[in-house]
Point group: C2
Chain length 449, copies 2
Amino acid sequence: MTTQSEQLATFAANLQFSDIPAHVIARCEDLLLDTLGSILAGSTARPVKTIDAFAKLQGPTTGKSQVLGNVRNTTALFASLVNAAAAHMVEQDDVHNGSVFHPAAVVFPPALAVAQEIGASGKELLTACVAGYEVGIRVGEFLGRSHYRIFHTTGTAGTIAAAVTVGRLLKLNPEQMLDAIGSAGTQAAGLWEFLRTAADSKQLHTAKAAANGLIAAYLAKDGFTGAKQILEGAQGMGAGMSTDADPRKLVDGLGTRWALPETSFKYHASCRHTHPAADALQVVMKDNNLSASDIASVVTHVHQGAIDVLGAVVKPETVHQSKFSMGTVLALIAIQNFAGLAEFDAALHDEQVGAFREKVTMELDEEVDTAYPNRWIGKVTVTTNDGRVFKGRVDEPKGDPSNTLSRPEIEDKVMRLGQYENAASTDTIKHLIDYVWDLQNKEVIEALV
Amino acid sequence: MTTQSEQLATFAANLQFSDIPAHVIARCEDLLLDTLGSILAGSTARPVKTIDAFAKLQGPTTGKSQVLGNVRNTTALFASLVNAAAAHMVEQDDVHNGSVFHPAAVVFPPALAVAQEIGASGKELLTACVAGYEVGIRVGEFLGRSHYRIFHTTGTAGTIAAAVTVGRLLKLNPEQMLDAIGSAGTQAAGLWEFLRTAADSKQLHTAKAAANGLIAAYLAKDGFTGAKQILEGAQGMGAGMSTDADPRKLVDGLGTRWALPETSFKYHASCRHTHPAADALQVVMKDNNLSASDIASVVTHVHQGAIDVLGAVVKPETVHQSKFSMGTVLALIAIQNFAGLAEFDAALHDEQVGAFREKVTMELDEEVDTAYPNRWIGKVTVTTNDGRVFKGRVDEPKGDPSNTLSRPEIEDKVMRLGQYENAASTDTIKHLIDYVWDLQNKEVIEALV
């Protein structure tokens, strides 16, 4: 009788590139490129710079792995640490709805760093990342809602995802992979308490999940043993950190259901609760050839959660707050047809944005509220200055699996993210785009920047 | 209204050498020396060597901080990691009964490494270690018995203890110290699941508690913020990792009750449940001038817990198992008057030890069982070959606060530990002893070995 942990370890250790459907590989490439943009955009932020300064102080200043922002080389451990800290900073990285887990931030940084360190190929890198996604998402689903109420799943399940990713690159056998999962799980940490005062812990969580997972995998390769059932055991993660952990979810459809393409991209640089209405407004304006100056009012028909989270923000006083202002988000869509990081930075004191914001209201909508959270429906009613009334609707917000981003849209997003705060040049970003689209042909992963 | 976390942070940040009673400082020196012995003894073990190999692969090969076994220099992060992995390996380091926490393993390694890195004085080192003990022990008491059932408190509370120790050395102000505690608590981890298959995680737990606490303190010094109530907050450690967490225990007698001298030394290199009877046998033999060959039988009068843990071991088949064999432990006491690491290694197939082991039995004793676990009473009945019967008794096992080790006994223990598996030369160990006894006079902590 194999345990769920053994099944996960065996799946991850034995996964081959040829086992993975082409659309899963393609989506993995999409997500990697998307994440490179997030890493660059986050690299200039204070918390990330602080972690980078610590890495410079305590880690090696040479190595084969690359810190992508403030470009320099170091060992895989420290490149993982800093890049993972950056990846989640601007909150533009991916999310898997069912597990409420952001896999990209903890999978791609250690994958790239280790691939550079050991000279893995593009196909090996992709295989390892798919393994990390498949296992990590299932661990998040296993830990459940009670876990997420206290723990930051991206920190906890993320440690396992990172260990599996690195473990696959290091070619761990199933027994070693089980050790790596054991050593990762016993390091898994991350509490939501920091939210109360908006402390910097989120960056520490992704940084440490990536680094700790890497440690677990390297130690396992060298014979260091770990718990055999750290997930579902009587003194494991489920027992200690959840009250509704369901071990069956650990192996749900393993090898047949691909969880990676269930992951959503984030398109607008704002709170997810604003996205459905923003998309619906975009549809109305495009279909009816409206400009911002044509619009007299926008009523957004939303779920209760949107009102709970966004309702308090009447006149945003910080850039961060403006990303939780439905009026500001819709103003950017109406005026600029885009709500990215740079647009929010410029919008805070913009008079035109402020005037449009006043035209936007939220109303609870029964259909939208009932469908949530399984479906995030967007509905708006737009009234023009000349009295016309238009209804707009999207059934799945931009970025979700059935309404995903095209490669040109991802390229555009990455170009914007990469240039945020002058993190990278357009040439550098173009090189990254070309590199990722050609990843399957790379015999050895080199420095990316 | 200051929170418990704030009170802890303020106490730790403001603690001065002159605030600390001389007997607490002296005991801190005792515990430091004791721990250096444990670090050397553990340094040659496979799991510690594996962590050391990882540190060499991923960390710098130069720095001001010293790895004590396999002597080399690196940065404070990696010296902490490796020395803390070694400190708990041979299970001869200290224990605080009330918190079921081993402070030494997670306090002294980062304290020494950071003191070497920044050139702190002996008094600064001692002050920082006392701060780490006082805070860490209270966090362990706060987390309570429900926490310890699933989590390895030395890993979890240990992360806070390490952060406070390093934070005090870095001269964090109270606000920064609170940030350090916040960043430490959100990294706190360590699950007992590994025990089921005797995996290597215990070494990972102490190594990572020390390293993660150090990271938290260095980041806080540089402005990285943490949760303000990571211990007692609604989404903090108590909420997520305990069902009986009592916030009042966080500040119990802070500044008046010194928790550090409540810590016990481990004297015999065996399961703690064997210690009371071993001590009682030693008393009987000394008082009555008996040798092993005089003895026909020993009945140990024990608590139920001793029978539960030790009862299964009839004929030990591994050195580790022999440390859970009451007969083997008492045989070493009777024959060699000492049950240390080297004695256990030699005893497994020794005929004389095997013969004496057969003479030892355990019997449940009501008085002993009732007193446990607050008091660990040792009682034996010894019958000699010529028919005499002697009763022996100790009310507190050797090493507990009221029956502590003298400095010569600590020196002797450290000399034995340090020479275990030829970890260090006698000259090196003598130097360590002299260094620690003169620690208060050191202007700058240098390389110890």
